[in-house]
Symmetry: C2
Subunit: 345 residues, 2 copies
Amino acid sequence: MTDPQLHDSRFLRAARCEPTDTTPIWIMRQAGRYLPEYMAVRSKVTFLELCKTPELAAEVTLSAQRVLGVDAAILFADLLPILEPMGLELEYRPGPAIMNPIREAADVDRVTELEEMGELDFVFEAVRLIRRDLPGNIPLLGFAGCPFTLASYAIEGGGSRNYIHTKKLMYNDSGAWNALMNKLTASLIRYLKAQIEAGCQAVQIFDSWAGCLSPADYRQYVLPHTKAIVDAMPPDTPVINFLTGNPALLPLLRESGGNVFGLDWRVDLKNAWATVGHDVAVQGNLDPISLFANLDTLRNRARAVLNAAEGRPGHIFNLGHGVTPEMDPNNVKALVEMVHEMGQR
Amino acid sequence: MTDPQLHDSRFLRAARCEPTDTTPIWIMRQAGRYLPEYMAVRSKVTFLELCKTPELAAEVTLSAQRVLGVDAAILFADLLPILEPMGLELEYRPGPAIMNPIREAADVDRVTELEEMGELDFVFEAVRLIRRDLPGNIPLLGFAGCPFTLASYAIEGGGSRNYIHTKKLMYNDSGAWNALMNKLTASLIRYLKAQIEAGCQAVQIFDSWAGCLSPADYRQYVLPHTKAIVDAMPPDTPVINFLTGNPALLPLLRESGGNVFGLDWRVDLKNAWATVGHDVAVQGNLDPISLFANLDTLRNRARAVLNAAEGRPGHIFNLGHGVTPEMDPNNVKALVEMVHEMGQR
């Protein structure tokens, strides 16, 4: 049972396609390296230590929400630490690397499905601390990577240009592929549910790398797994389903389910909303590099996104992808103010 | 006046949407590092020397066509050498780098529009040598980068993840942006026309990086320039207009013009052809990583692309992007045979 103040918050009303006083906004990677408040904390610990120290993860989550004045906080965490208790050796140097990547069926056998969440307690403890200190009208978002994105990290061992190892396994051994995706899916369901139980009001699932797939491959190898996650979430908790890099997958993303569909900047928001359907909410979709424009141009570009939403209830403003480290925090703050001002009804 | 044997070649008939005995195929980057014939030549010279020595460029172009049995040859060249006589210092180490990148209006002023093509004679000489030795039923394709892709290289100084400098100039100084795009466009028109005069039967223009743009930005900052190039080509020379990385731009690509639209693998070919219109030809669009699958799977995946074309005249088979160096040349040859066999009417 959600607290009434949260239930009627701008963000959660918009996620249910209900009217709001103005367009809600939050920013992907809002607690990141571009913020001095973040860097002050980060300078004392490694990235993984920051993720694994609930007090610090809570501090950077809360300060970002407070400094920017955004309508939601998002748990400071990373997509990949869930892979550690599943048997994958994760290092940041500084980009993430998997030291024992999966390459064939035998490697899939050594991946452990997470039955219980003990080793990820630092995440749920951070959620509890954040929820305790967050303003009562600000929802806290949990999140996780989608099975494809985690599988491709686990297989490639890091970022990839062409996803050769991932697609090789997918195309040549669909049994091993499905076994891996099933283990990830079952683990992710428990992980997201535990975040919700600890105090998150909504969750976002990120398929950051699925844009490398054709529609036919997404349908065959990925959609059923993402759909299983969405279907398993509690009905009163909105799911934001985000995929970046391939607008042709939007109809399939809709099929995989969710309440809010995250749009990257490659699409026109008006067309994309028509594609996923006006019965669901959308989130997005300003090109993040707009934050490097002068403030007049930034305002015009933000207005164009609001205009594309046509004042329809169910638009949550965001960038089409995360903030980059080089950004000026003042421009990010200015964007939040602009959206709150121009989005008024 | 095109030679009748060339005019009636599989490739050129398909480019005009005329029926063919089987589906024509060529492969982007078919003369590349995956081929032992290429490596034998490349081992003796640098990449730029290979580009600039017409006899060697001709040799790798011709051997790739012969070894693979494809229905078109494509000039061995690179997108970037045109930037050198325009005043940009180009190095390969081994990735391309521009040593004096463009960052602001004053930098645009020092870029020279190419009035005459003398410094690129090595390209046209290669075209003449290739055309002389190519089988009489095999068209030779010329090519160039589109203005946006060349501009983003010139501005970023190399490959880029987020195109921050490019978009900064585009958003904050549209005068300087247009001046740069106009210089590139005028130079590219002369460059492509000279390739055609030297002996190319068709040209492909590559917007390899334009997928980072939203539809609104592509329309405002890029489309008019690409369109000016297509409009300036001789009417009897087919133009293949290729953009990768953003299916939402396909309707705008069609607006920019061309006879054949190059599709990457992110789209379903059937849907994409309906989007650009059945009055034009399409080229593509097998996921290149399919070449790492076993031959049965490769055959099934190639068949799926052919099926999506529904036997309609005007389909030129290709990968959705270039061959990668790790590929087995035998699989590429096998793909060519499969398409010729399964594409028969």
